[in-house]
């Protein structure tokens, strides 16, 4: 996140524009303002005060009773628990009645363990300016007593945070943001050019770029020594700058690097020269090397990581964070200042690998201005000389900053071509010019030289973006989009149509559509025929979301059980979605699946007085499966139902739907009791799953007209037969046998009764069917009807060993 204050911005931008105008313009030119904090108002009651005395609290070991000079009249008694509260220190005082943002409460006058307290000395956390609640704020001795703290600390300056897009490395510095605003007519860019500092002696430390035969990770590295510095706390203005954006002042040398980082988007590093041994080498880390960085953490390194090492070992994580051992402290007298260029991809990868978010990484991975490597070093050097004194060496540079000239041929027509916006060419040239592009040829096509800090600008389209974002996207006129002469044809593919029809058909059967995760647990996947290693995620977020699902049923069963656990035992759920048989595109299929649990019958859910209720059974699942297939366009007459299904179904109470043994469209049935146990679910529970891609494409028809409807002048007639067959015989075989005796005359055959029990031999069952005959040419005589009936009895007997029930 890029942060700066309005006052800091005005160091680079000469503008009278009010905060709101600046904020609005930033967002509208692509520097999206994430937040604006006007802390001057919130922190108004907080003033600078001095602790005159701090005595032990009579009734509490950890508390002190302080007399505080607030600059307004008599000293005030304050009870304070901070370990650093002591006589003589300066801090931040707030009187009773003020709101403490970090505690979200209004302070009152109180007695703390019997001693009155008329105010509070506060920590940074209590002001919500940092997470530090170790102790109360300590201010330098020259902080003026009674002054408004926020004003003195620069905290009254509105803080602006920008959600910077990854392409804009140039706006990681306040000067880059000012340049964009100036281009957009919010003020004028101030000249902040840098005067080089002449070196007085050669830099005694040599630098080598040592990448051997491996790809180099450091194009250039500049270094200079400043001898005889005094590294005190930095002056108030610099401390205030850093505090105002939430950075903690450390010491002058470190503060200078942080300042240049934010002011110019140029990260630097300072080494305490006394702690560096010999010359420096920029190289890949060796396996087993490690470094304790400035955040006090030890990082294990490898050869993908670029480091700066001295003769003793690794001293700094290049472009990310320095090492603890060579850091600058108040004892530092000689300082080495580093300004370098790093491979952005490597910085990003290293940062991710080590889990370090730093201001340096944020900038180097976006790309810094290679031409500013040396000016940045000069700026830092002159600040060191100004603030810490000392004598600077000459600059030593290893490698060369790569700043090739990048010229884009830019036809002016490109702007209207891509945006529809017509702008005056002078406007275009002005915008590009203010952004730092230089234009070397005019006319219909410009030759545009890209400035060194805009490595993100590749070609014509990027220039178009620069122009429209500064001129204002609002100027692009909305242009009606003609749908053209294209014929109005359906736009959905067959599978898309099947999917939407399947969903509506299942919902119309009283089921609720679920959308479950595409990944399930390994054990669930294995149970349903999946678990292929190629479908296991390398980085799942949870062990029950680890494998791409081979079936929708496990997700639906889990959902049904979850609902049951919440007190909704009778649920009918379906999903139409992707299942995975392998990791290739052609291995992904669209399944339509459903589960019914408890009393969730298609005729109604739960108990009902009409006796249409009951527990779900295999025929409910079969009906669902056939309904969804019919809705999705399957040829219902051609579908065969054969007993049995995959192993997660009950072997005797499941079936498969197929068009011949080669094309199995799906399955239905009661879930296998063992599967339910593994899924930790309770029945009764039935399920189905069909694969919509398996439905054959219907033949293309030349016309939308239906075939001619044939009416017969003769009434159809029905004859009933009851056959006794073995229990194992499928009713469908009896129907098929009856139907086959005369396909023309017999228009329908149905089972209307199934009976086992008294009057029927054990191991047998009675199946009663009704056969519809449709005479076509004349009314049938009794003799003709009897002949058909005899053929039916004979055929059923032949195929199923069924005999007419006595």
């Amino acid at each position: 996140m890029m942060k700066f204050t309005l006052a800091w911005l005005k160091e680079h931008l000469d503008t009278e524009a009010p905060l709101a105008a600046v904020v609005d313009k930033l967002t509208m030119i692509g520097l999206e303002v994430e937040s604006v904090a006007d802390r001057g108002k919130m922190l108004a009651p907080f003033t600078i005060a001095r602790v005159i005395s701090a005595e032990q609290h009579p009734n509490a070991d950890r508390l002190r009773v302080c007399m505080v000079d607030t600059g307004a009249g008599e000293p005030v008694q304050v009870v304070c628990g901070a370990p650093n509260a002591r006589a003589g220190m300066k801090g931040v005082f707030v009187p009773p009645g003020a709101f403490i943002p970090g505690k979200n409460m209004t302070l009152g006058i109180g007695k703390i363990r019997g001693v009155e307290s008329r105010g509070m000395l506060v920590s940074e956390f209590e002001l919500q300016i940092s997470d530090d609640h170790e102790g109360i704020i300590e201010l330098p001795a020259d902080a003026p007593i009674g002054a408004n703290y926020a004003q003195w600390a620069g905290l009254d300056d509105p803080l602006i945070e920008i959600n910077l897009t990854p392409n804009r490395g140039d706006c990681t510095g306040v000067n880059g943001i000012a340049r964009d605003l100036a281009a957009a007519d919010i003020g004028k860019l101030r000249d902040r050019s840098i005067r080089p500092v002449k070196g007085e002696f050669p830099c005694p430390v040599k630098v080598t770029l040592d990448f051997g035969t491996t790809p180099p990770l450091c194009p250039a590295f500049a270094l200079r020594l400043v001898r005889g510095v005094t590294n005190n706390p930095s002056p108030a203005w610099l401390q205030r700058r850093l505090i105002s954006i939430g950075l903690r002042p450390i010491n002058a040398l470190v503060d200078i690097t942080n300042f240049v980082t934010y002011d110019r988007g140029r990260p630097l590093h300072v080494f305490d020269a006394a702690k560096v041994h010999g010359n420096l080498a920029v190289r890949r880390a060796r396996e087993g090397e490690s470094l304790v960085a400035l955040d006090d953490k030890r990082y294990l390194l490898d050869s993908t990581i670029c480091v700066i090492a001295d003769e003793r070992g690794v001293e700094s994580l290049a472009g990310i964070m320095g090492g603890e051992a060579t850091g600058c402290s108040d004892t530092t007298t000689d300082v080495l200042i580093e300004s370098a260029l790093w491979d952005p991809v490597n910085i990003a990868q290293t940062g991710r690998k080590l889990g370090i978010q730093s201001d340096a990484r944020y900038r180097f991975e976006r790309g810094v201005d290679p031409a500013f490597m040396l000016p940045g070093l000069e700026l830092a050097t002159s600040m060191v000389l100004d603030l810490c004194g000392g004598r600077a060496s000459e600059v030593t540079v290893a490698g060369t900053p790569d700043t090739p000239e990048h010229i884009i041929d830019f036809p002016l027509q490109e702007l209207p071509r891509l945006t529809g916006l017509r702008a005056d060419p002078r406007e275009v040239e002005r915008v590009l010019g203010r952004l730092g592009f230089s234009i070397t040829a005019g006319g219909k096509s410009l030759k545009v030289t890209v400035p060194s800090w805009r490595g993100d600008v590749e070609g014509k389209a990027d220039l178009v973006e620069e122009i429209v974002r500064i001129l204002g996207v609002h100027r692009i006129p909305p242009t009606p989009f003609d749908r053209g002469e294209a014929p109005r044809k359906p736009v959905l593919t067959p599978i898309q149509l099947r999917t939407r029809k399947a969903k509506r058909a299942l919902a119309a059967r009283g089921m609720l559509e679920a959308v479950a995760w595409s990944f399930i647990g390994r054990w669930q996947a294995e149970l349903f025929g999946g678990g292929n290693p190629e479908l296991a995620l390398a980085n799942p977020i949870a062990s029950d979301l680890s494998d791409m699902r081979p079936s929708l049923i496990p997700g639906l069963v889990a959902a049904a059980q979850n609902n049951g656990d919440r007190g909704f035992a009778n649920v009918a759920l379906f999903e139409v979605g992707q299942v995975f048989r392998g990791d290739r595109p052609q291995d992904q299929f669209t399944a339509a699946s459903g589960v019914r649990r408890g009393l969730a019958k298609p005729t109604g859910i739960g108990r009902h007085w009409s006796a249409s209720d009951g527990e779900v059974d295999v025929f409910d699942a079969k009906a669902d499966a056939l309904a969804v297939l019919a809705a999705a366009g399957a040829p219902t007459q051609a579908l065969q139902v054969v007993p049995g299904g995959p192993p997660w179904f009950h072997p005797g109470r499941s079936g498969s739907i197929q068009i011949g043994p080669q094309n199995v469209l799906g399955h239905f049935g009661e879930l296998h009791p063992r599967a339910l146990e593994i899924l930790d679910a309770e029945g009764p529970l039935v399920a189905f799953e069909v694969i919509l891609e398996k439905i054959p494409e219907p033949k293309a028809r030349a016309t939308r007209a239906r075939p001619v409807l044939e009416f017969f002048p003769f009434q159809p007639l029905e004859r009933d037969f009851a056959f006794v067959v073995d229990r194992a015989v499928n009713a469908a075989d009896i129907l098929r046998a009856a139907q086959s005796t005369d396909r023309k005359l017999i228009t329908n055959v149905k089972v209307f009764d199934v009976y086992e029990g008294a009057g029927i031999e054990p191991g047998k069952k009675s199946i009663a069917i009704t056969v519809t005959l449709q005479p076509r040419e004349k009314t049938m005589t009794d003799a003709e009807i009897d002949a058909v009936a005899a053929k039916i009895v004979a055929e059923v007997g032949k195929r199923t060993a069924g005999v007419l029930r006595a």
Binding site: T27, M28, I29, G30, P166, N167, R168, P344, V345, N346, A348, R366, L418, T419, G420, L421, A461, V464, E465, V468, R469, V473, H474, I476, P477, P478, P480, F481, R483, A486, V491, T493, Q496, R500, R504, A505, A507, A508, R509, G510, M511, L512, A514, V515, A516, W517, S518, F519, A536, L537, A538, I541, M548, G555, L573, G577, Q578, D583, Q588, H608
Partner: protein
């Protein structure tokens, strides 16, 4: 002659007194049957002189007609009263509830409904619907979309990976629907107008993020479509989708690797106790990203960026569903809680059409 009067009085009394249909039938047989009293009288006519026959015939036939009519009338009355009596015993408690029709119980998930709404809107503008696989290659998900290797932009999207293959390649779950842009451009010559709805995956999970979510992407490639058209399409879309007369939209420059120029779009809204109202208020809510397809992406698909041009946009289906229909949280979309589905889901016959209104 007084006999006939007495007979008539007697017969009519018998008819009136017949308490049910069998009794009435007995009266009829006694009067009009073969040997009934009136039939017997009629038989006597044959023995009479023509004058007497003429006179007596009229009288006896008059008697017969009146008795016959009385019997018919009585028969009808008895039938009605028998029916009334039966109906009195045939009452049922119609306050008993019948099962709810399944078409009122079943629900379509809001995501499916919104996809159907999007399809209706964009089909009307001449867009087809394209789809692609969830398991993608790094090449289609990132490289061809102009995400340079190792670029921080890749880090913007927390990616789910599969195990590396022996050749070092690694498949992933698509982090956006944009690889389908690539597949579409590689498979079809322009002009291209498609929307691409689908599941997408990112490996973060918290209150507002789920590891799986839904996006819809739009892609137009031809030789003349520009940002002005894109603005118009998105304005028309927002008005149609949110079913309002006016939506104030704000297009902001932004960055996506696969578009140049890139824009983000906010819509003006008023937030009130968790409810969002469009076309009023002075808050801005970001709803989508878009831009002109990056020349490198066109090149990667074999199209010359100086000849072909076009734009793309992408938005979260779950998110616009929440905005339109007011679900406060994303997570329950994927939890299949029947209370949530019944409340936020759509009835199966509420099919979104432009003619009938998207949300019925």
């Amino acid at each position: 002659m007084t006999d006939l009067h007495a007979l008539e009085t007697e017969l009519l009394a018998a008819v009136t007194n017949a308490s049910d249909e069998p009794a009435l039938e007995a009266v009829r047989v006694a009067a009009l049957g073969r040997n009934g009293s009136i039939s017997t009288l009629l038989k006597t006519l044959g023995t009479m002189s023509p004058e007497a026959r003429k006179e007596q015939g009229a009288v006896i036939n008059g008697l017969k007609d009146r008795v016959t009519a009385a019997i018919a009338e009585r028969k009808e009355a008895l039938k009605q009263s028998a029916l009334d009596q039966r109906l009195n015993t045939e009452t049922l408690d119609v306050s008993l509830a019948v099962p709810e029709p399944p078409t009122e119980v079943g629900r379509i998930h809001p995501i499916s409904q919104v996809v159907d709404e999007l399809t209706a809107i964009f089909a009307d503008m001449g867009f087809a619907v394209a789809e692609g696989p969830d398991i993608e290659s790094d090449d289609y998900n990132f490289t061809k979309l102009n995400f340079p290797e190792g670029h921080p932009a890749r880090e913007m999207q927390d990616t789910f990976f599969f195990q590396p293959k022996p050749d070092g390649s690694q498949l992933l779950l698509r982090t956006h629907t944009s690889p389908v842009q690539i597949r579409t451009m590689l498979a079809h010559k322009p002009p291209i107008r498609v929307i691409i709805p689908g599941r997408t995956y990112r490996s973060d999970s918290d209150q507002t993020h789920t590891p799986m979510f839904h996006q819809v992407e739009g892609l137009v490639i031809d030789t003349s479509s520009h940002l002005g058209h894109l603005k118009w399409i998105l304005q028309e879309f927002c008005k149609a989708f949110f079913e309002v007369d006016q939506v104030n939209m704000r297009f902001r420059p932004s960055f996506f690797p696969f578009t140049e120029p890139s824009l983000e779009v906010d819509i003006q809204c008023r937030r009130d106790k968790g409810e969002v109202r469009f076309g009023e208020g002075d808050d801005w809510m970001e709803i989508l990203g878009c831009g002109m397809v990056h020349p490198n992406v066109l090149r990667n698909c074999g199209l010359d960026p100086d000849e072909y041009q076009g734009f793309a946009w992408g938005l979260g289906i779950d998110r616009i569903a929440m905005l339109k229909y007011g679900m406060p949280d994303l997570r329950p979309f994927f939890e299949a809680d029947v209370r949530w589905l019944s409340h936020y889901g759509f009835r199966p016959l509420d099919f979104p059409t432009l003619a009938g209104g998207l949300s019925g």
